[in-house]
Assembly symmetry: C2
Homo-oligomer: 326 residues x 2
Amino acid sequence: MIILCIDIGKTKTLAISLNEHGKVFGKFVAGPSGMWLKEEVIVKNVREAIEGCLRISNIQLNDVRLISISWADLDTPKDWENAWKVIEKVGIEKDKVLIEHDAVAAYYAITWGEPGVAVIGGTGSIAYGVNRYGERMRSSGWGWLIGDEGSAYWIAVRALNAVSRAHDGRGKETILSEMIMEYFGIKEELEILHKIYKELEGDPTEISKIAKIVDKAASLGDEVAVEILEEAGRELASAILCIVRKLNMANDRVIVGGLGGVFRSNIVRESFIKSIKENVSNAILRGPLIGDQAILGPVIIAFRRLGLTVSEKIVEAVLDGLGEKF
Amino acid sequence: MIILCIDIGKTKTLAISLNEHGKVFGKFVAGPSGMWLKEEVIVKNVREAIEGCLRISNIQLNDVRLISISWADLDTPKDWENAWKVIEKVGIEKDKVLIEHDAVAAYYAITWGEPGVAVIGGTGSIAYGVNRYGERMRSSGWGWLIGDEGSAYWIAVRALNAVSRAHDGRGKETILSEMIMEYFGIKEELEILHKIYKELEGDPTEISKIAKIVDKAASLGDEVAVEILEEAGRELASAILCIVRKLNMANDRVIVGGLGGVFRSNIVRESFIKSIKENVSNAILRGPLIGDQAILGPVIIAFRRLGLTVSEKIVEAVLDGLGEKF
């Protein structure tokens, strides 16, 4: 049985093909297909991801039993309508397709469908959880202007603010100033304004890239950077904890974990784990899932829909097939 | 002697005509002319402000000795070039015109040109100061994404974040939730996302309007709102204090004060004053200057350029002429 899984994110569209034993036949990456892009771009990239994956796997579309998609930014009913319109234009049978919000897919990737909560720490941040009664709840994910605490964007903006405060003498000195100026190829802190507002036009995806610099500064011992990353970890944990509380899961077996590039940072990861352990003593931690591993979400959703058992062995096979370790 | 003064802001362009005694002959308000607008819009609004003011004052352009302009968002050399291009297109002699960055004009409005520091707390925030040696420095004003601490935008975003945290159970309950939902005409917190990102497209000027709601909530005793406004006051003071420190003014006679709509809030004002008094015991507080009173900046700049003395009497006459009290 062949299953096609697609993870549609802010920076790329990843497709893999696999069978019911978790054996991955092929993996293909196309450009982003998030809902804020033009429809023709989305259609093109989704089609490219599917066709590329089938070609590499040496499989025909007819051989595919189910296409399971995790889609970023599917927030409004209008977004869902557009998503289905894209599927139609790509020319695949709707009956064969499952679509889920990326936060829901993240939940499946971490918990395999058992009671628990997952948080995404990518460009943005959002948490989603389900308890044993099937009650579900999301938290965080209020976007780059209002929320997304602990995300790469949030870390980047805190770092830029720290640089501004250090420059003005309103805050602690930090090597972030030097490092961010070097990143932008400028010699004066105030030139950051031109970079951020005029050149990057405030683009959250571009600004988010500064988060990597923060992790580097922290590994060099910069206190300001360490503080930002530790707070990011606490914020990501907090997004999980409020769901555990509100869905009354504190005394249950509850599987929790994080996904996304922010968890590459040791400091974020440790601060996140510490905060989870301090607050939910019975939490079973899984992950973090980083990079292509998020595709595990649509994989698990597909397995459940098809009545297939998800085991550690299968998950390991999928992650091995991606060339990424759990 | 007739002087024309213009205050170009993010929401409007205000022009007044006055004489060397501070007698105001006319006042006219046109649309905004900030540098982020299209050139033809800026030219139209600046021209409209000047022509409207002259008409109301029953004065000819030839009668005007000096045109003194305070201009928002004049940050880069390119902005300055554009500003002079606008003057040319409006068709007024460049020799007759003085242009200043609005932070510099704010400094003159508060200090009348003596050693001191002023901070603008409007849609954005920025401080500017000069010591007795003529050394000058700005602080804050890093824009809505990175900084602008204590501004109306900053207050609004903090309020939206507080609503998101309360909704998720990550933060204290607050009546801001109810009040902001009422403001937007929605029934569910998450609908705020649609309002902010889709309808308002993240427009800082529109989002800033929420600051008024925060002040109302605080006056009703909402703790979350009170905390946000108190912190805004401290942040605005902090922007002044770092200049006082860096320019070694702590032991001098130093005139400080704030301008802008944020200072309408009693809580912001009191928190600001408290923080200033605690940190610079010898500070002489002036203002706050609110609404049209910011036009005092270009007025004082014009008076100094023309070698005219600025006295309390003259300042009072100007503010009386505006229909606003100091």
